[in-house]
């Protein structure tokens, strides 16, 4: 089954000098995990996303489309990146989700893809 692993972290997790140092460390960990998962044929795709201040949202409502600055919802945590993996079941997906590096307060959501 394919699962999307969505990484949510506090908006200010990487703020300041200490934050930037932590970011370097976390990115290195992501690289190591992604390298391992790709080598095993588990990871299908994945990327980190730029800051949510770079987001633009298209809203469709009442037959009209409008463009908005920012992410669709203003929350303290923002979507920072994702992994797309293919594993036999939820337990294996959760085991990988637990290994995804995050800052304190980070949340990792695991969602199965629709099977066609």
């Amino acid at each position: 089954m394919q699962y999307m692993i969505l990484i949510y972290e506090p908006e200010n997790a990487y703020a300041g000098e200490a934050g930037q140092a932590a970011l370097k460390d976390i990115v290195a960990k992501h690289m190591a995990l992604a390298g391992e998962l790709r080598a095993k044929g588990i990871q299908k795709d994945g990327a980190g996303l730029q800051d949510s201040t770079t987001a633009t949202t298209v809203v469709t409502q009442g037959g009209r489309q409008t463009i908005h600055d920012g992410p669709f919802a203003e929350t303290r945590e923002h979507l920072g990146g994702y992994y797309l993996i293919d594993v036999p079941n939820l337990d294996e997906a959760l085991a990988i989700a637990k290994r995804v590096p995050v800052m304190d307060g980070g949340k990792v959501e695991v969602r199965p893809l629709i099977v066609h």
Partner: protein, 402 residues
């Protein structure tokens, strides 16, 4: 007829688990078992089966395969099919084999941490024990459609999110076992709560939870917390006949008529707790079991050993820091060392004005300390918080006794 009903109920966990493992579809497994049971009740009076479980397994598996075939014709997608998909012939051959024991896997599926705790408890009691949605709705104090939706959602998530039908791997074992134990605790808390409200109606629900805890012991005989939980449930159940007075008011353990306690369940529980202790790995359920054991020891000793109970609550407070544990500890200290010591302990928790256990404990300890004014205020506060009927009657009795 009743004897056949009992045989069907006894066979249920094993047969439904084997069906679920083979079909990877909880609904189909339950429906097939229900169909087979209905057929059995017609067929068995004329021709009783040699092995009820084997009979039900064969009948249910055939029905399930028929149903799957019909569904396949309709083009319905069956999620998470077993690999490789057995042909109907293979499945029919399997029906003649002894039933595989898949009960542990079924329990781990129903108690998966990816499901909300309340859903786990309801789903386990529904699928493993066969309790009706209506009975579960009453036990969990929700409307039947809400209960049905809770169970349906949980089943859908198991199928759609790919919860595996497996016993968890060693590294995941502690977390998964914890999920099973907490599920059983929720189920039992519900049965206990239920009892205080409607003494006559509850027995079947509590009996099922008792049976389920026994099943866990059978399947995981070396897990001390599983043994501890089974002991705990038995100790608590043993005291059920003494929990309400003639007027339906709650009677606290230390005031219960010990002659009404069930000695058979107490002996069973004590043996389980001993077995747990031999493993040398303590845990919160074993400590809770030991607290119950100490209360029940009054049947022999004549008095309650409050210093031991207070000490056990002290240990429990470290393992499971929770205000309810702290309040119980304060009450036990009040009995062991005097009401003033109990009040001092309660003061350390700090006032939790809107919380019934706190107000009830404050009222009790104040009354014991001779502080009638404070006791009356706390009893009034407790009653204003809408306690369940049995506890309301108890609190009113104590208030009048001031």
């Amino acid at each position: 007829m009743q004897r056949f009903g009992q045989a069907i109920a006894a066979a249920r966990p094993r047969v439904v688990a084997a069906l679920a493992a083979r079909l990877r579809d909880l609904d189909l497994a339950e429906d097939a078992f229900a169909d087979a049971s209905a057929t059995a009740l017609v067929a068995w009076p004329a021709q009783p089966p040699r092995d009820a479980a084997a009979w039900l397994w064969r009948a249910a598996l055939r029905r399930a395969i028929d149903a799957k075939r019909r569904a396949a014709v309709r083009g319905r997608a069956v999620l998470d099919p077993p690999e490789p998909e057995p042909t109907p012939e293979e499945a029919l051959m399997a029906a003649d084999q002894p039933i595989p024991d898949e009960r542990l896997k079924l329990i781990f599926v129903c108690c998966h941490p990816a499901l909300a705790p309340d859903s786990r408890a309801a789903l386990t009691l529904k699928v493993v024990c066969g309790l009706s949605t209506d009975r579960l709705a009453r036990a969990f104090f929700v409307a039947e459609p809400a209960m049905l939706q809770r169970i349906t959602r949980a089943k859908k998530k198991i199928a759609a999110a790919g919860v595996p039908f497996e016993v968890p791997a060693r590294d995941a074992w502690p977390e998964r076992l914890e999920a099973v134990l907490s599920t059983l605790e929720i189920a039992y808390a519900q049965a206990y709560e239920d009892a205080a409200l409607a003494a006559r109606d509850v027995a079947p629900f509590a009996t099922e939870v008792l049976r389920l805890s026994g099943l866990l012991v059978e399947l995981m005989p070396d897990e001390p917390e599983v043994l501890g939980l089974a002991a705990l449930v038995r100790f608590a159940e043993a005291r059920r006949p003494a929990r309400l007075d003639d007027l339906g008011a709650m009677v606290p353990p230390e005031r219960q008529e010990a002659a009404l306690w069930r000695a058979d369940l107490i002996a069973e529980a004590a043996a389980l707790l001993d077995r747990a202790a031999q493993a040398g790995r303590s845990g919160p359920r074993q400590i809770l079991g030991a607290i119950h054991a100490t209360h029940c020891a009054r049947a022999e000793a004549g008095v309650t050993d409050w210093p031991t109970i207070a000490a056990l609550y002290g240990v429990l407070a470290h393992l499971r820091p929770h205000p309810a544990v702290a309040v119980n500890r304060a009450v036990a200290i009040g009995e062991a060392e005097g009401a003033e010591a109990g009040l001092a302990e309660l003061a350390r928790i700090g006032p939790i004005e809107g919380w019934l256990p706190y107000q009830a404990a404050l009222a009790h300890l104040s009354a014991r300390a001779g502080r009638d004014e404070a006791a009356r205020a706390a009893y009034d506060a407790a009653l204003a918080l809408g306690p369940p009927p049995a506890e309301r009657l108890f609190l009113e009795q104590r208030l009048r006794a001031l």
